[in-house]
Symmetry: C2
Subunit: 149 residues, 2 copies
DNA sequence: GCTTGACGGTCTCCAATGTAGACCAGGTCT
DNA sequence: AGACCTGGTCTACATTGGAGACCGTCAAGC
């Protein structure tokens, strides 16, 4: 991955645009296509949907809504469309009656989901420490402030 | 990691709240503390900052602003404060003149950054395929629509 | 027969969030 | 003396997200 600057480089580069070729994608550059992709994926609902489809396999619209607690139908539709557009998720309409709509990971999406899973695991493992850190921080900055006054 | 339902479970659970104990964090539950943590981290700027600090080591406020293209000072401050509150990042003010403010990863933050890096790598590796998929999708849905009319 | 509910959405409104850009205090360079 | 850098904060403004209504098709219940 491109780094925003070389390690110990005293003068960081300003990555405004990425080289532009098929190579040289840089998520740190403000206007690189890879930044758009990153920004779309770096989202609560997109990540949770990918995670859910990864661990549960194909799921229907309403199953996903139940699986991902708190997602609205609007955001569910919107995020799934975006993932479908990106070639990560496949939307299949089974022409039954009533029609069944099923979402599943495409191979590209699966490779991504495999990289997201450790992130989900981390959060569930360390959320306790994060919450504790927050309480410490809030106590230090709200409660016991003005130590010398 | 908890899964929103067991694989091939025909009746997915509705994870409204997580068990509540120190165990049983579930990012799929709408009101679990781990969901708050996840939602805060599942953000463009937070992830990019963690990534930048991971690959470049300690960085100053203005270095980070240059490194992470397109971030506003407001979001930079806000995201760094949140990461500091979460115990992931350490903010150090060197009492020189002018004072130097340096941000660096704490051990907990480093373990997280290590899990985010593969995600960044994925995006830079596959952004081309994603962009191509988008073009295909858009052509199929905007350009050549109404195939039978 | 009529209502109710599930399904897979779409639409509209309103609140929250992100962005752009001004402003600020202290110090430095020219 | 005036412009600039640093590390921010503050204020508008635009975009985004969430809540909830609406929709047509089907099945079950009363």
């Amino acid at each position: 991955m491109a780094t925003p600057q070389q390690i110990a480089d005293p003068r960081p580069e300003t990555p405004d645009t990425c080289p532009g070729g098929d190579q040289g994608f840089d998520i740190f550059a403000a206007v690189c296509p890879s930044r758009d992709v990153f920004a779309e994926l770096a989202d609560k609902w997109s990540l949770l949907l990918l995670l859910s489809l990864h661990s549960c396999g194909e799921q229907r619209f309403s199953e996903l809504q139940r699986a991902v607690g708190g997602v609205s139908r609007k955001m569910l539709t919107q995020s799934l469309r975006a993932l479908e557009r990106d070639g990560l998720v496949l939307r299949t309409v089974h022409p039954e009656t009533p029609p069944r709509v099923v979402y599943g990971l495409l191979p590209l999406g699966r490779t991504l989901a495999e990289r997201i899973a450790p992130l989900g695991d981390w959060v569930e493992s360390y959320a306790g420490q994060v919450v504790a850190a927050r309480e410490r921080f809030d106590r230090a900055h709200d409660g016991a402030c003005a130590p010398q006054d």
